[in-house]
Subunit: 292 residues, 4 copies
Amino acid sequence: MLKKDETKTISFLIQCEDKKGIMQKCVNFFTDKDFNIVHCQQHTDSYENMYFMRLELDLSDLKTSRKELENEFSIFANENNLNWSAHYSDYTPRVAILVSKTSHCLYDLLARRNQGQINCEVPLIISNHPNLEKIANSFRIPYHYLPVTKETKPEQEMKIRKLLKQYDIDLVVLARYMQILSSDFTNEWEGKIINIHHAFLPAFQGANPYQKAYERGVKMIGATAHYASKDLDQGPIIEQEVVRVGHELTPKGLKEVGRDAETRALAKAVQAHLESRILIYKNRTIVFNAKH
Amino acid sequence: MLKKDETKTISFLIQCEDKKGIMQKCVNFFTDKDFNIVHCQQHTDSYENMYFMRLELDLSDLKTSRKELENEFSIFANENNLNWSAHYSDYTPRVAILVSKTSHCLYDLLARRNQGQINCEVPLIISNHPNLEKIANSFRIPYHYLPVTKETKPEQEMKIRKLLKQYDIDLVVLARYMQILSSDFTNEWEGKIINIHHAFLPAFQGANPYQKAYERGVKMIGATAHYASKDLDQGPIIEQEVVRVGHELTPKGLKEVGRDAETRALAKAVQAHLESRILIYKNRTIVFNAKH
Amino acid sequence: MLKKDETKTISFLIQCEDKKGIMQKCVNFFTDKDFNIVHCQQHTDSYENMYFMRLELDLSDLKTSRKELENEFSIFANENNLNWSAHYSDYTPRVAILVSKTSHCLYDLLARRNQGQINCEVPLIISNHPNLEKIANSFRIPYHYLPVTKETKPEQEMKIRKLLKQYDIDLVVLARYMQILSSDFTNEWEGKIINIHHAFLPAFQGANPYQKAYERGVKMIGATAHYASKDLDQGPIIEQEVVRVGHELTPKGLKEVGRDAETRALAKAVQAHLESRILIYKNRTIVFNAKH
Amino acid sequence: MLKKDETKTISFLIQCEDKKGIMQKCVNFFTDKDFNIVHCQQHTDSYENMYFMRLELDLSDLKTSRKELENEFSIFANENNLNWSAHYSDYTPRVAILVSKTSHCLYDLLARRNQGQINCEVPLIISNHPNLEKIANSFRIPYHYLPVTKETKPEQEMKIRKLLKQYDIDLVVLARYMQILSSDFTNEWEGKIINIHHAFLPAFQGANPYQKAYERGVKMIGATAHYASKDLDQGPIIEQEVVRVGHELTPKGLKEVGRDAETRALAKAVQAHLESRILIYKNRTIVFNAKH
């Protein structure tokens, strides 16, 4: 189980109905192939009777092709009714960031990527407003301005979806993109779109959460990073952050202090996704801890 | 502004429409009578255009009777359209605690009272279940068991209200009392009933919040102490607490870790109320910081 | 891996130098004996090159005696250079609580035990002051008053150690016991004494941490639950809590708000210990998450 | 007390020995000149017997010159033994940022300034390393590279101090500048240099705090923003942040998760300073809440 920072790894994310012996079956599949298991994280949900596992293997132990390994595991998975996916640490995921006019999440994600905290490429930024092009330029990332009106919405969304294909995107990050996506879009990209909602879901779904938070007089405000689903603000939650607030703040003040919660929640969620640490079951996520 | 711990004080809680000069008018009212102002806390809500103030005066500077002071201030308040109340630190408020079967909030409040953290008398505990009588006995507090069925509910509530009068109660604390109060009751006791709801309001109002939190897959659970109003779980919020939770916890596990958030939120709210640090405006509270 | 609440379990805590294949070796030891592994938690410390594991087995799968199982595992452990211990969920650990004059941690622990949050017996409370006897009485627990002066200290400590033997104690909790223990005592009870220090260690070791915190002007105060070792306030940390504080608080005020951090940190640490979720390596602890 | 966002204000920060009537004396000074008091925040430290006040006045009520007002207040202050300073919201403070190789605090501060969260100009960035010049360029801020060796240290520091004068700097922010400043420098700039230390002071003063935190096995790591003083890491604390950490993290992992605490603590401290909300007394700060 020795792991150095430079160690390249394969991560298997596995889920199935819980049953006796499932763990060592999986473990043995890989150790029989002489893999060193760098990490093994598991979760048994006794309420749902489900078993979740993340296995991280030393990639240098791979004697065959990746394709072959996946084919063999696929047979094993079918026999045991496993849902699974495989992820390779030497592949750098490609992320598209969608924004509107607000810049704090964009700045934060790009700064983290430049610092190596988030491992991805960002080949394009898409926006329905021209405002943030200057920031994109300063980070030397192409900026696609696709303004949206009621009439042009479907057409512009198709252009977005085309761009995502064209740029070979793996993950879409809605970094305060203030447009509702069609269910066609969210279905096609299920589990691959992360949105940041500026409230502590399920409180204050929909528009103007800070205004609503002020009116309700809450003593903490929050932010929620979640996978987008066809139902607005109702997809599986990945990460939540809160900030304590007092009576001093107006809706505008709440909005300002809420920014930090938004950037943190989104950054943590994106990092967890890109490190293949998230499993989705029903409307919930299992997020395994980072090991650094 | 010298204050020692033993200094006895009068606190005035004042609210009015914000206007130029209102602060020094109030300050001058008391300094003209040669009062030392021990503390002066204020809040201007520029969004609502309201002004809120808490003045703490040295009681030993009182040259007249309390009645007389209040009469004089009453005239001043009428002239200036102030809402106000006065509170004397040498009076020990009388608190009734209502519980059902769950004991953590009850234990916590009684322990804090015994340690002097919460300054009040608790002349009675009322419950719709017999379970917690042993705890009441160990703290030597009379326990009134008033079981509730659909049929007896109105009649039992009348008995409760009668007990509250009889025991001269100032504040009612619903320490996990699992019965909905009638609007007659909440209206009569407006701003004088504090409830603890086991969720981060406005999320998960109503029954079974931990079950709902599990199903929604939230990453933090919370508790909310608020004044009871005629609309269930919708009264003015005083204090909220959250606890970070992972995928490891079932609804039962969430309930267990949520207890600490409940006890803390309730204790802080009760303490702030008893120290006359709370003002209510519309559905929001202004809670001034404690000074110890 | 099915586990119901009532499932009785054996937990093995294992640590060794990290090496390839160690996980499945351990797993196979138990699955070869047809044990269902209810939980398996692991940690690889790549910095120290150490491997840590907690295996929870279904006790009803045990075909032999406990003694026999332990003997067999002992042989396996020797072959593989494992440090280990075994814990049975049907055994209720026996805890002695030591206090001085301050009651909040004592109240909190006893309330949690009565509510079933902490699973233990408390056959005795020991104190160097008579003050808290009333609380012990209200919970019907024998109270041993052993006053300490400079001269009687060694003699009184011997009495304490004798009582711990006599009552068959498994864990000693210093719930604000304001006496320094001899290194003989802490060595004999290594890893079996949990102390609460009223500061965020390593800040403010020793006496009067709230006074020091006031003088240093910190913006958060904390509490630290740790295993007692021969060096005062320097044993392995189990749990820490902090509370944000403002300039409003004097040393006395800091002490008051610090209480909650103390009770929470101590309760969590005691619960983790009693649920056999803690491993100690050098001066650090591995604390596995609770599964409820 | 009506205040709109665009209202220009004067803030007076006042401190003196606490005495009866001091508040209304100050209030009356300004209301006699027909000033509207937009905010009035106060703190009485009963332990030190000191009184602290922040008065925010409507600048449009100023009938004389700023100079004249300050002269008159100066006479009043002398009579009453007040320490004070005046700050005008229509003046944009000039901030120099000093960095070494680490970029997260720099990115964060510049992004916040561009978003209007922090109101200041940043006319220059100074560094002892060339690494972050690219970031400075992307924000179009001059970058002064002043490498430091043991021999050149005094000479380079003199160059820095000259630059600060030349650029008319009001505040120096050490955003992970890994050089110890001379006491000449810190004395000259007393209360005008904010440093971020990557630990929860007073724990882990000096070099390599994350390594020390790992070795001590703490369960939370922190960051501290404080005014630099002649004693390293011992100046008045402005803001502290903590992050809960588990056994999973190596020193490198602690360093990574600590970044967020560093950026937040530093940003909040800089914002509070630039909004004239901080008073320093002995080695402590009074930080009044923001009102937005």
